[in-house]
């Protein structure tokens, strides 16, 4: 019980921070809710990318730094392909490309490096990141591209009755959130309920055991990297549709890292919850903490959201290194 205390304290601080603007009447409830919803939506996307990350980590013990690069690569593929074909065909083709990529990664990177330390594998994914960034931009081009999802962009006003002035919501955001939630749900189900999903988890727990019940490790790796690739496509398309497809997407996707720190490297619920906390947290911080900070220190603009997630994760690491749902690790001597 003792070790939960700091976590509870931290949670209390976060919650206090969350509601402070309301309580201190810094913000209208409508605006606050808008920010909250915006944060949640971003958070869902973080969760999505983090899921892909957790998947890979669980199945192959690889800390996949390339997740962001995969999102960028997928988004670029869809964007450029959809210029010549219907969007759904482009997405299907992108799926095929990501599966091929997964297969190549397994063949050329993971298999030769099997049994290496985690840090070496992390560095290998750094290499993959660079390669994908360069390769993607060589093949697909390096301008800013757009993806037209065919959803009307103008925002709608909802809940005018509840809040004064109502809440402005983007339709594509809603659509994106819905898609993301569905995908997160599907993945969670896949992991918890299906035989393959359970097999994937078995691999994470014990490579030997998984092999002994007849699961070929190499195929599992291809599957998880493929799934992670598909998740990347969804995230890429959603973000690409919203922000335009450009290099910065890969940086945004890097936010999945603090998310998994928060949630624990191997926990699916942790990834989901972590994503939401980070999404809401950084939006709230940007909107409500940013301006006072700017004023106080005479800053040249806000931008807290660029680092808030990492600092939060750092703080969290000090308090509880194993993450929200991670397992405590005991060193055997």
């Amino acid at each position: 019980m003792k070790r939960h205390v700091p976590v509870l304290v931290l949670a209390a601080v976060l919650l206090a921070g969350l509601f402070a603007p309301l309580v201190l009447k810094l913000s209208a409830p409508g605006f606050w809710t808008e920010v909250l919803l915006g944060g949640l939506m971003a958070g869902v996307l973080y969760s999505l990318v983090a899921l892909g990350f957790v998947l890979i980590f669980k199945a192959s013990g690889v800390f996949n730094f390339a997740q962001g690069a995969m999102v960028l690569f997928a988004a670029l593929a869809v964007a450029r392909l959809s210029e010549r074909m219907p969007l759904w065909v482009a997405i299907l083709l992108a799926v095929a490309i990501m599966v091929a990529l997964a297969w190549l990664v397994e063949r050329l990177v993971l298999r030769p490096l099997v049994n290496q330390e985690g840090v070496a594998l992390l560095m290998a994914t750094l290499g993959v990141t660079y390669f994908l960034d360069g390769f993607g931009q060589t093949v697909w081009g390096s301008d800013i591209y757009s993806i037209d999802l065919g959803i009307a962009r103008e925002p709608v006003m909802v809940l005018e009755k509840v809040f004064e002035g109502g809440i402005l919501i983007n339709r594509d955001d809603v659509a994106a959130a819905v898609v993301a939630i569905i995908l997160v749900g599907l993945l969670a189900l896949f992991f918890q309920k299906t035989a393959t999903g359970r097999a994937l988890r078995a691999v994470a727990d014990d490579h030997q055991a998984a092999m002994s019940i007849g699961i070929p490790l190499n195929r599992i790796w291809v599957i998880v990297w493929s799934v992670a690739g598909i998740v990347a496509i969804v995230a890429g398309v959603i973000w690409g549709g919203k922000l335009g497809v450009q290099f910065s997407i890969s940086l945004v996707a890097l936010k999945a890292l603090p998310v998994v720190i928060l949630g624990g490297f191997t926990s699916i619920p942790g990834a989901i919850l972590g994503g939401l906390i980070i999404g809401v947290g950084e939006k709230m911080a940007e909107v409500f903490l940013g301006p006072p900070l700017v004023q106080m220190f005479d800053l040249a603009g806000g931008g807290i959201e660029n680092w808030f997630a990492y600092m939060l994760a750092l703080l969290f690491l000090l308090v509880r290194p194993e993450g929200l749902f991670g397992e405590k690790h005991i060193d055997r001597v």
Binding site: G118, M123, L126, F135, A300, I304, L317
Partner: protein, 354 residues
């Protein structure tokens, strides 16, 4: 093949503990240093100085710093450009606000600022290892990006957020021309190399390596993990801070926010992976490689008459870096330095294979 070691016996521990115990190595090293000081300044073009030698010298200092942490102490960092940034801005502000201060003192103080930052961001390493630590160091990266872009004081309230410097005056020597800069940097690098080499050979270095190789055993024989890790972070950041200051003053001259971004951090990491983790010499190889490769990629197609745009070249560069990282991790996880060591050992045992 080139070695003649008969008769090179050591009759004192001091001789046995020399940095280069083999005579031929010492001769080679003196030759190389003499060449670098006496021949290169007259032989090299400004282009060679500005686009290869100067960045190489500075990045080597940074790579040695990162190598102390990652290669020797086993603590990973993917945010070391942050400490370069700290060093660069600290030096800038000292230079700006305390104009009478000797630049060498400025450099050292900039290093100390970076070391302090390094210790702060090294604190998580006391509780977490490996992959978790990587993310923690990313926090340093993004936080420093933000701080130096947003806090106006650091950039002297410059409108664009950019800062610019002027040539340095050192004991009456104005370090202005590429040759001047080269000579100054070469001297700095040699000093820092010797210091680093000595550190890694002393008990602190052994504490680092012990922590890297087997942290529990290290603690059991009395090595305090707090001390080993934090000193590694501090000294590593110190090197990067100095390198950052040099990068700003001697290479960039003027720089914008985000000059010390994640890409630079990753480049530093690649230098030590390709050059060789846990090897000072490897830091040289890695820095040389990373500096030279883009230039070669730009040049080679031209020699063959193949038109290639700068953008394509930079994308190719990314791909080749990425592929090389993976290749090195698979084929030679200890990098070029290991190849060098193996080659040297072969020469010593020549004509025997092992």
């Amino acid at each position: 093949m080139l070695y003649r070691e008969n008769g090179q016996f050591k009759s004192t521990y001091a001789a046995d503990l020399q940095m280069l115990p083999i005579l031929q190595d010492r001769l080679f090293m003196f030759g190389l240093i003499a060449f670098a000081f006496l021949v290169v300044p007259f032989a090299a073009s400004d282009y060679l100085f500005l686009s290869i030698l100067i960045p190489f010298l500075i990045l080597t200092v940074a790579a040695i710093g990162l190598n102390l942490l990652v290669g020797y102490c086993g603590q990973i960092s993917i945010g070391h450009a942050a400490f370069m940034a700290v060093g660069a801005y600290a030096a800038y502000n000292l230079w700006l606000r305390v104009p009478w201060m000797n630049f060498l003192v400025v450099l050292v103080l900039a290093g100390f600022c970076a070391a302090a930052a390094g210790m702060i961001f090294g604190i998580p390493s006391l509780r977490i290892k490996g992959l978790y630590l990587a993310v923690a160091t990313l926090a340093a990266q993004f936080f420093s990006d933000w701080v130096f872009a947003r806090v106006k004081w650091f950039t002297d309230y410059a409108h664009s957020g950019s800062v610019s410097t002027a040539p340095i005056d050192l004991f009456g020597w104005t370090i202005d021309t590429p040759t001047d800069k080269y000579l100054f940097l070469l001297a700095v690098l040699i000093v820092f190399t010797i210091l680093a080499k000595n550190l890694t050979r002393g008990h602190l270095g052994r504490a680092w390596m012990a922590t890297r190789d087997m942290d529990v055993a290290a603690e059991v024989i009395g090595i305090r993990p707090v001390y080993a890790k934090l000193t590694a972070f501090a000294i590593s950041a110190f090197y990067c801070g100095v390198a950052g200051a040099l990068w700003g003053f001697m290479y960039l001259g003027a720089w914008e926010p985000l000059a010390f971004n994640l890409t630079l951090s990753l480049n530093l990491l690649f230098m030590i992976i390709i050059g060789g983790m846990g090897s000072i010499l490897g830091s040289y190889f890695g820095a040389a490689f990373i500096v030279a490769l883009p230039i070669i990629l730009n040049q080679v197609p031209q020699w063959f008459g193949i038109p290639i745009s700068t953008a394509t070249a930079s994308h190719l560069e990314f791909m080749i870096f990425g592929a090389l990282i993976v290749l090195f991790l698979i084929l030679e996880p200890h990098g070029i330095a290991r190849l060098w060591a193996v080659g040297k050992e072969k020469l010593r045992l020549w004509p025997f294979p092992h």
